[in-house]
């Protein structure tokens, strides 16, 4: 039984040709139970056959032994009968009675019958004894006849002759009894030993078979219970929602099928969980988009409300300044006629009013630019989509941003690196809106790099780089600066409206928010940021080559 030779503790299937446990484990359950039952039956039948054959042998030996003891008995009886014969023959010689002669003849006949029974055991010895008996009998009869005739001397001689025969018969019969006794005793000894041996062998067989049977039962049970336990653990884990466990690789029909079912269940559960997560994410994105949209509407509403009064502030400030100029002209002569102190006072007052009006105008314009940016969020009317070369738009934005910055800050300079892949080519887009996005991203980058330059001194050279590439069916443009980077804490907020890190007056906090709307909502693209504080910031614009139908307009 090769199964018995292998270990059940081998939990994992071994690679390569495996025997024993592997084979047992891969058998169907019914086959394992049939093997177990068959092994039990075979053991039972085998041991029964052995015991009955041992019993048969013992029975045969016992019969033979019995026969030998019969022979011993018969030989003994023959010896006794011969004693009677001798008695009656001696008596005959002395008494010469007819009765003694009849008794002697009868004894001889019985002895002959008894010797007949011994012929089958040892014919030769029996024949010799018979001859000696005949010789003895005839000599003794002759001696009796001699005594009857009164011839005592002849009688004595014949009787002496007869006695020598008698002694030989006696010895032969004695020897026969002795011999057969020894054989019979040996035979009896042998029968007892054989019976003992058979009993011991039977005991060993029973012990061995019990051990083997127990081992086989344990193996078969473990081959069933262990996979069941592993599967049960897997099922329990799955039921508790731990879907990322490893399903045990069970072999065999039933457990293999169960493991396969579990694997399918696991796959389904994982797929369902993935879909749930995805839809949750989508929902969150939708909510975020809703928030952004309502923020945009709010922004537009506020901007509209502020714009009108702001226009008045700006217009009246400018107007008042003009009026002040006229007033100064009119008052030139009267002021000149004042004494020095009063004239200085008057001139100082007029100058201060002029300066104040300038400040009102300046801050009003600042507010106006904020409002204008806010209104870009809610620009009405459709902008047009068409195919345009993305590299050209980006390059032009770089150019415009550079000259814009130069115009604003005469000392401004920056190294510009362009690495535009020509295969990006033309894409379907809203070119004016994209231009706004790139202007915004590049201006931010230039601002950041320049800020770093102002802090680090002359060793630092500000760099702004523009790179494009094709990524499958999408195109990507990266705007990177070597400025101070973006703090991780604020990275989540940079796309929110009104969020800015620039000092008051330098940024509206709407540029990135607007850019996000244009790229994500209008173009169905992605706008992501990657930054290493102190090293760089890189904004990545990813756009599809063609717009989804009904490309959403920014309202």
């Amino acid at each position: 039984m090769s199964v018995a030779e292998t270990s059940l503790t081998e939990a994992r299937p071994r690679p390569g040709p495996s025997v024993g446990w592997g084979q047992l484990g891969s058998l169907p359950l019914w086959a394992r139970l049939v093997i177990l039952t068959a092994a039990g039956l075979i053991s039972l039948i085998g041991s029964t056959v052995f015991l009955s054959s041992a019993l048969h042998q013992t029975a045969d030996r016992t019969t033979k032994m019995q026969e030998l003891f019969n022979v011993v008995g018969t030989a003994g009886e023959a010896h006794v009968t011969f004693g009677e014969l001798r008695y009656w023959l001696t008596d005959l010689s002395v008494s010469q009675l007819m009765l003694s002669e009849r008794n002697a003849v009868a004894a001889r006949a019985r002895l002959s019958t008894q010797l007949d029974l011994l012929v089958s055991y040892d014919a030769e010895t029996v024949a010799a004894i018979r001859a000696e008996i005949e010789a003895y009998f005839s000599k003794a009869m002759d001696a009796a006849d001699a005594y009857t005739d009164g011839n005592r001397v002849i009688g004595n001689t014949l009787l002496g002759n007869a006695r020598s025969h008698s002694a030989r018969v006696d010895a032969a019969l004695n020897a026969l009894v002795q011999r057969v006794s020894v054989v019979a005793t040996n035979e009896r000894q042998l029968v007892v030993e054989r019976a003992d041996d058979a009993a011991t062998t039977a005991l060993y067989i029973v012990i061995t078979l019990s051990l083997l049977g127990t081992g086989l039962t344990v193996m078969v049970l473990r081959s069933i219970v262990q996979p069941l336990q592993r599967l049960n653990e897997a099922i329990t884990s799955l039921m508790q929602g731990q879907y990322d466990i490893e399903i045990p690789a069970e072999k065999g029909h039933e457990f293999g099928a169960m493991a396969e079912t579990l694997r399918r269940f696991q796959e389904n559960a994982l797929e369902r969980r993935r879909l749930e997560t995805e839809s949750e994410l989508q929902k969150r994105r939708l909510i975020q988009a809703e928030k952004m949209a309502s923020l945009g509407q709010l922004t537009a509403g506020i901007a509209h409300e502020i714009k009108n009064p702001l226009n008045f502030v700006n217009n009246f400030a400018k107007l008042s300044d003009e009026l002040l100029d006229e007033l100064v002209e009119i008052l030139q002569a009267p002021i000149a006629s004042l004494d020095d102190s009063a004239r200085a006072d008057a001139e100082d007052l007029l100058q201060t009013i002029h300066t104040n009006l300038g400040k009102i105008n300046e801050h009003g314009k600042r507010a106006d630019s904020i409002v204008k940016n806010m209104l870009l969020h809610s620009r009405e009317g459709p902008s047009e989509s068409r195919t345009a070369n993305l590299n050209d738009i980006a390059a032009e934005a770089l150019n415009l941003a550079y000259h814009g910055a130069r115009a604003e800050h005469p000392g401004f300079n920056i190294e510009m690196v362009k690495s535009l892949a020509p295969e990006v080519g033309e894409i379907e887009c809203f070119p004016h809106d994209l231009m706004r996005v790139f202007l915004n991203l590049i201006s931010n980058g230039m601002y950041a790099a320049n800020k770093q330059a102002a802090q680090s001194g002359e060793d630092f050279s500000p760099i702004i780089s523009l790179a494009s590439r094709v990524d499958g069916d999408k195109v990507e443009i990266e705007v990177r600066d070597n400025g101070p980077g973006i703090d991780p804490e604020v990275r989540d907020k940079i796309f929110l409206p009104f969020f800015t890190t620039k000092p008051a007056g330098e940024g509206t906090g709407l540029g990135l928010s607007l850019s996000f709307d244009i790229i994500v909502k209008q173009h169905g693209g992605e706008l992501t940021v990657d930054s290493q504080p102190g090293e760089y910031t890189a904004f990545r614009v990813i756009l599809p080559r063609t717009l989804a139908t009904n490309g959403e307009n920014i309202q």
């Binding site: 509209h304 009108n308 008045f312 217009n315 009246f316 107007l319 106006d368 009405e380 009317g381």
Partner: protein
């Protein structure tokens, strides 16, 4: 000869703004301004005289009640000889296109650049003469 201009805006301060900006022209009687706080009031004033002495209307677009666009359409229908300038805070292209389609002479965005407005007025009047 004085050119009569009707200024329509729901903001009362707009009147002051125009008066002050055109103070020289008003003093020299080049222009004379009438003011209305709504489209309905403007139509009322125009109907008050036959034919109206007003030859030019400057109108805001977003007003409570009748909008500037509606006023423009009404004026074009009843008094085709009157020029109309639209002035709005929202300089979007669709509103401008709509205004020009309805026959507005000029389309200006707030804050009004008065030097540009004065040039445009002069040009229109020159052409009308």
């Amino acid at each position: 000869m004085t050119t009569h201009i009707l200024m329509v805006d729901d903001e009362p301060d707009a009147q002051e703004l125009f008066r002050q900006n055109f103070r020289r022209e008003i003093r020299e009687e080049t222009y004379a301004f009438d003011f209305a706080l709504s489209g309905e009031a403007a139509l009322e004033m125009l109907r008050g005289e036959t034919p109206p002495r007003v030859v030019m209307v400057l109108s805001d677009i977003n007003m409570p009640g009748m909008s500037g666009i509606e006023l423009l359409a009404e004026i074009r229908k009843t008094w085709p000889q009157v020029s109309v300038f639209m002035i709005t805070a929202y300089g979007d292209s669709s509103t401008e296109a709509r205004s020009r389609e309805l026959g507005a002479e000029c389309f200006l965005t707030k804050p009004v650049d008065f030097s540009v407005l004065k040039q445009d007025l002069a040009q229109i009047l020159e052409a009308a003469r």
